[in-house]
């Protein structure tokens, strides 16, 4: 890109790979504005003082020639040709009285010249940009960067909740691991039998076994062993013919009475609420 007017000949070669040429090239020009700019340059005058009329004529002439030798032109070029033909006719005719907002022919010519100058300016800027020292082309970065070493500083995470859970877990485990056997209070079968013999001796009628037991047993924690032993004792005593046993339903109250030829009959129906455990 060192040449002053690089696009005239070397342009096609510069098209980047992988960039499809969608534009129909007219002698390597990139669009009508590019062509116009080149034509303007050939006027060899400052772009501020180009003759737009002369430029329009040159453009139309160029297009005519191109159409004679080529099959087709990109539509852009034709649109521009039509517009320039219109502009040319407007510029040649005396300026009609201004009507409304429509721009005058000279406004249009100025606008075209402006666009050409702007394109040229941006091209110059592009060149200056690409002339700058570029990284990896003209200047180079550190080839062997030294990575920043990462030192890990652990930050311990633990919450009070974690701490207390851990402690409680430990203490609980410790407590569970140390099994203490309580001294068990057991009402022996013999005790039970003695007690029952004493109690039932007075009961000539059906009496619920539990009634005996609850009146006899004061301490609640003894109830289970008393009940178990008492049941065994009553069964034994029933076998020996000392007691009659009766139960209405599974888990129902157990009725007992002394068997000494007393009045036969069924025990009373338990009333509601009675014997609820």
């Amino acid at each position: 890109m060192a040449a002053e007017l690089p696009f005239e000949d070397a342009d096609l070669a510069e098209r980047g790979a992988g960039e499809p040429a969608l534009i129909v090239d007219v002698d390597g020009f990139e669009g009508p504005l590019d062509l116009l700019l080149e034509l303007a340059r050939r006027q060899k005058v400052d772009l501020h003082r180009i003759s737009v009329l002369a430029l329009a004529e040159q453009y139309l002439q160029f297009i005519e020639e191109a159409r004679r030798t080529r099959l087709e032109l990109a539509a852009d070029y034709l649109v521009m040709a039509a517009w320039l033909a219109y502009l040319k006719s407007r510029l040649l005719l005396p300026e009609p009285p201004r009507d409304g907002d429509e721009p005058s022919a000279s406004d249009l010519a100025t606008a075209l010249a402006f666009r050409l100058r702007r394109l040229e300016a941006i091209r110059a800027a592009a060149k200056r940009l690409s002339d700058r020292p570029q990284l990896g082309r003209d200047v180079f970065a550190r080839g062997r960067p030294e990575p920043v070493a990462v030192l890990e500083r652990p930050q311990w995470e633990a919450t009070l909740y974690d701490l207390l859970t851990a402690y409680a877990h430990q203490r609980q485990k410790q407590a569970n691991a140390r099994v203490t056997l309580h001294k068990r209070f057991v009402w022996s079968l013999i005790e039970a039998r003695e007690a029952l013999e004493r109690l039932v001796g007075e009961a000539r009628d059906w009496t619920a076994l539990d009634d005996y037991l609850t009146t006899y047993v004061a301490r609640p924690n003894m109830r289970r062993t008393v009940r178990a032993s008492a049941l065994s004792a009553t069964l034994e005593m029933a076998r020996e013919g000392i007691l009659d046993l009766h139960q209405d339903e599974p888990f129902g109250p157990l009725w007992v009475r002394r068997r000494d030829g007393g009045a036969a009959g069924m025990p009373p129906r338990p009333s509601a609420g009675e014997e609820k455990r």
């Binding site: 510069e14 980047g16 960039e19 499809p20 534009i23 669009g31 504005l33 941006i122 020292p133 180079f140």
Partner: protein
């Protein structure tokens, strides 16, 4: 406040140490080092500006220069030594003239839409040109212009600045001339408002964010280029 001889000597030593640290930090890194990061590593109370200015001077005539680019400070080989070093590297892919021109328009006119690029160049921009630019990582989609059709706006990235050794977007060469001639004002007649290019990532008043992901946008742009959306049944 009278500084004793010792305290002067101490200051000088602290400054020399700060130089060494800054030098090591920037030297070791391939990427520009941000001033905040430097400040964080230098001893408390160091005059970072002075340290960097001194290093810049120290290295100005050397084979390796200290440079300020977009994101921070970086050591780069001196540009005049390109001829010795160039042999070493694979020739980077060259941008076509069209791509370079488009890049320049994006840089000087950003945020800019494709229609505006085409207006300046007077020719349709091929998808390939924009793709090639996006691939360089120097150009990004900024947002959408709040105009009918909500066209995508393009701008440059920090790596654009870094690649071309620019400190900020207003260091673009020839920016003043372009501005003075009214060439940055888009379609407006010269002499009205002269917008300056800005790669400030915050969107302008007339921009709105890109909501979709990049892929969707590029796809949409591609379809727009193709023209009418293809009939689905034709796709297979």
């Amino acid at each position: 406040m009278s500084a004793t001889v010792e305290s002067i000597a101490r200051d000088a030593q602290a400054f020399a140490e700060a130089l060494r640290i800054a030098e090591a930090l920037i030297f070791a890194s391939r990427e520009p080092v941000r001033e905040e990061d430097l400040a964080g590593r230098l001893p408390e109370g160091t005059d970072l500006r002075a340290v960097l200015a001194r290093l810049e001077t120290l290295y100005a005539a050397r084979g390796v220069n200290l440079q300020r680019v977009a994101e921070g400070w970086v050591f780069r080989t001196a540009p005049d030594l390109a001829f010795v070093l160039a042999r070493e590297v694979v020739e980077p892919r060259k941008l076509s003239r069209a791509a370079l021109e488009t890049l320049a328009i994006i840089a000087y006119h950003q945020p800019v839409t494709r229609a505006e690029i085409e207006d300046i160049r007077g020719v349709a921009t091929s998808r390939g040109t924009l793709d090639a630019l996006m691939e360089t990582g120097w150009v990004r989609l900024r947002g959408r212009r709040r105009t009918p059709g909500r066209p995508v706006t393009y701008g440059t990235t920090p790596s654009f600045l870094s690649h071309f050794g620019l400190e900020a977007i207003d260091d673009l060469p020839g920016l003043d001339e372009l501005k003075g001639a009214g060439f940055l004002s888009g379609r407006l007649p010269p002499g009205t408002v002269v917008p300056l290019p800005s790669d400030d990532p915050t969107l302008r008043e007339d921009e709105e964010p890109l909501e979709e992901d990049l892929f969707t946008i590029l796809e949409a742009e591609r379809v727009a280029e193709m023209g009418e959306p293809l009939d689905m049944s034709d796709e297979r």
